[in-house]
Symmetry: C2
Subunit: 145 residues, 2 copies
DNA sequence: ATCATTTCCTTAACATGTTAAGTATTGTAA
DNA sequence: TTACAATACTTAACATGTTAAGGAAATGAT
């Protein structure tokens, strides 16, 4: 198909990193006053949306590797943002739930978050925004091609 | 524009992370035998394309933060993949260049890299691939909107 | 010339990414 | 029931991401 590598300025991995920087910059700014990281925000969002989850499912839905989530969950438990309990039926499993304090971090920033998403939609155009999500979905390993 | 946050399954930051996973998986597999990381590969690619570069320009073109590049460059120098020299005119600057050993790592894997890119183009379709790069470019902070 | 500012880079500290090895519990099959 | 395999995590070790502080050289204003 091609006979040469694309210029690094037209490289998909680099484009993905830079796009992520652009998207995350305002979110990070929003979170700077909370003392939580972008990853912890993602965990809170997933827990808020799905309720009680085991660690494996939480890792998958928040796109975090297991060892990262182990550390992040410990840190979030210490901050009182989540609770961890053992599944009494399958004692290997750990069940994680958001606390009121964790939910409040989300609730207090919902309108600001919506504004950030809307700014991106405006920048791209809504059609392009949806197209972009669809194309990115095609690259996802764990999707059904 | 919107009144609710998107579901986390339709979140742009998460979609970007997952797409990156999908794109990088075969590249990581390719690099596993070399002992260099995905970031070091990026540095080699940029240096190979642009020749001698100062650290600031190299960081920008390889999309690495300065402190990361400081560590990565030290490690790559120790491995003999790059050389670091001081700019004699502006002695604050450091000039970095790829070595023959570094270039060989690229040369030995060029066809395999092209194949990986082609696989992605095939998966998306070439038009979609170009569209995706263009849309991602719109999200880049440092681009001229 | 001198001092403050800016630029270019390094170091530090902590969080996460990544791979591999380890532990405890459950499932399975002889 | 016992031994082997699989599952659900945890820990370890090292690399990178991220923010803040620091150091050295150049620039600019006085």
């Amino acid at each position: 198909m091609s006979s040469t590598l694309p210029s690094t300025s037209r490289s998909l991995p680099i484009a993905l990193i830079r796009a992520r920087e652009g998207v995350m910059a305002p979110i990070r700014e929003m979170l700077s006053e909370t003392g939580i990281t972008e990853q912890q925000w993602r965990v809170l969002r997933v827990l808020s949306e799905h309720g009680l989850l085991d660690t494996t499912t939480l890792a998958e839905r928040s796109s975090l590797l297991f060892p990262s989530l182990t550390r992040i969950a410990a840190s979030m438990r210490d901050k009182g943002l989540i609770t961890q309990t053992r599944d009494e039926i399958d004692r290997r499993r750990q069940l994680i739930e958001i606390t009121a304090a964790g939910q409040k971090i989300i609730d207090d920033r919902t309108s600001q978050s919506i504004q950030i998403v809307d700014d991106i939609k405006t920048k791209l155009g809504t059609d392009n925004y949806e197209t972009l999500l669809d194309l990115l979905g095609l690259l996802d390993l764990n999707s059904n091609d």
